[in-house]
Symmetry: C2
DNA sequence: GGAGAAATTGCAACCGGTTGAAAGCAGGCT
DNA sequence: AGCCTGCTTTCAACCGGTTGCAATTTCTCC
């Protein structure tokens, strides 16, 4: 009556159930395996009666297709890859959401991988991922152009926040946002601005700096680049000393995480933001509106970028026409970390 | 002299390079494919001379193994899966980082997928992912016990923040953190507390509520559950009305995102935290120390949980011994969102 | 130098589907 | 009847590796 050695908590070691194959179904239904294959994946190629019979048998046996076996011959795994430098960077939230929306709406499965900002690991991870998926989106990749092109030879590749000639890419136009940010600072009386840059290998960081410089010069402001630095909280905090040393009155950062780090460091150092220093972030991640003070930042539409990138990837995978380039733009979001330039007092050693 | 139609921006349509196989290498090196296979994957099974010869040929041709082909026969894809309900939830940052560390140190590749809190999608995604990986970690899954067991029949599965009999799981002990939080509130004069719960299908939410109730009762406090709600910013904000209606003076939330949402809603509604209402979050995500006020919360060691989960998964995949259960615990982190209970004034309709 | 053991290599089947080509079969037409 | 047409189904090869077994070579030792 009493159960014997039940609930012993022991896990069955390795007796995995072996899955049912089309051969099992074929035997069950009394047809050949190829008929089963066609019944299940080529509607209309077998008679309605046999198809129903086979589908019933498949359902009865609990069949589910082995995607690896299918992919070996056809290349179709039903999955698409998204490779990020750092999944835990909030910048990518919206992008991942947008990607997920499009991918699952099209019946694919999204698989993500991250390279943890390590150059060697990124190439290796991309390599591994590439053989499991039908196509790949690379976001803010640090790979060299040749490496990217080599990947693109094997499977369709779409880039986000990176341009490589002849490869499809989705890059929001950063000029409007930067132009407005510089105008905003200029009209608030700032005459010198610093750009706190990200990793040296980041194409996007280089481009943002380039654009900041161009726009600042057009307004007759002085502008310096400080960096490169890690695109993180810590990276931003570490930049504070050099920002103060430079004597600027306003800073743009490569991304919001750095801006938040800078804000935190300012608080600890007793620098008042925005009274002593104006800070502008980049991307408008989810934490921006509850920092203190709330962060003025340049919003990039990364959700739409993710959607666009995967729409294009799927079009390519399916062999459809290339779509025209997507036109995404950026805009300045003014919160409380920027203000009129105080005329009294001056920061840094450059001013007497 | 001038380049002709260069830079036309046209992408080569679908002429993907077909990859080199072991057969190509075999031909190149003048041996049989099986020897190539052994040379590359079974060190010592072929003579040193041939092995070198084959490796040279492989390198010359730029060979890289096709993991699908290998996996079809052996089941080894070299990848491990991590399935989350929502990748963009900052709760998982540390977990993903910990997982990444262990997985890449062991030579595997981590692939992530998310179920976007949709029950149907989670089962389907798990199914797809399962056939691509050697083992799977499910975090805070909403799947039903039978569904989880069915997955575990096919490949090794490890659970985080969820218990299922006979399956390995990693669940930090929430009791110490909750006990300290309740003690902290009690000693500050609070006599009633609410728990703002997460999704109805979340095992972890149910357990947290259960523990909060037990601990509160032991202290003689009144305690109510408010929910279920979405485990997000919005979910927290939406809970405010009912929190106020209940007349409690302190709230614990299912997670930090909800606590932050609650904080934001309080600010908008003119409720002072912590003077009018004390708020305690759960997990200690990265944004907690720059909310206003900074959030008191119960820290869960999700980084270690991720590491542990994958260490166990890898041990199982490799057929090693089961390790003993990992003992992870939680602790209260006191910041500024909790305080002594104001004796003057009372919130909500229950007090005259 | 030769028997026997050990190391090395090749053959062929296999994993689980897919697909071109051929075979089987029913119905329509002269 | 005989033949052609078109639909349904099967045969067999294939994708790219892996592996048990057997064949071949090399080594060892008497």
């Amino acid at each position: 009556m009493s159960e014997e050695d039940a609930d012993s908590g022991v896990l069955l070691p390795h007796n995995r159930k072996q899955p049912v194959s089309i051969y099992d179904i074929a035997k069950e239904a009394g047809v050949s395996p190829s008929t089963v294959s066609r019944a299940l994946s080529k509607p209309g190629r077998v008679s309605a009666k046999t198809e129903k019979h086979i589908r019933d048998a498949a359902a009865a046996l609990g069949y589910s297709i082995n995607p690896l076996a299918r992919a070996l011959l056809t290349g179709r795994t039903g999955t698409l890859g998204l490779l990020l430098s750092d999944i835990t960077n909030p910048v990518y939230f919206d992008l991942v959401r947008g990607a997920g929306r499009v991918v699952s709406a099209e019946g694919y499965t999204l698989v993500l991988a991250e390279s943890q900002e390590l150059p060697g690991l990124e190439a290796q991870t991309a390599e591994r991922l590439l053989s499991l998926v039908e196509g790949l989106v690379l976001v803010g990749t640090r790979l060299k152009e040749e490496e990217i092109l080599r990947l693109a030879e094997r499977k369709p590749v779409v880039l986000v926040n990176r341009e490589v000639p002849s490869l499809p890419h989705v890059v929001p136009d950063i000029t409007p946002g930067i132009r407005d940010a510089i105008a905003h600072l200029a009209s608030s009386g700032h005459q010198s601005v610093a750009f706190l840059s990200g990793p040296a290998t980041s194409w996007m960081s280089a481009w943002r700096w380039e654009t900041v410089m161009t726009e600042a010069l057009q307004r007759g402001m002085n502008v310096v680049e400080i960096g490169p630095g890690s695109p993180t909280h810590e990276g931003g905090a570490e930049g504070l000393r050099r920002v103060l040393a430079s004597g600027v009155t306003a800073v743009l950062t490569y991304n919001d995480l750095m801006a938040i780090g800078l804000l935190t460091a300012c608080q600890e150092a007793g620098i008042a933001v925005p009274e002593d220093l104006s800070v502008v972030g980049f991307d408008d991640i989810f934490a921006c509106d509850f920092t203190s003070p709330p962060l003025t930042t340049i919003r990039t539409p990364l959700g739409s970028a993710g959607e666009d990138a995967f729409r294009r990837l799927i079009a390519t995978v399916k062999g459809l026409e290339e779509q025209g380039p997507s036109d995404l733009t950026t805009e300045l979001v003014i919160r409380k970390s920027t203000s009129y330039r105080r005329q009294i007092g001056q920061l840094g050693p450059h001013s007497p």
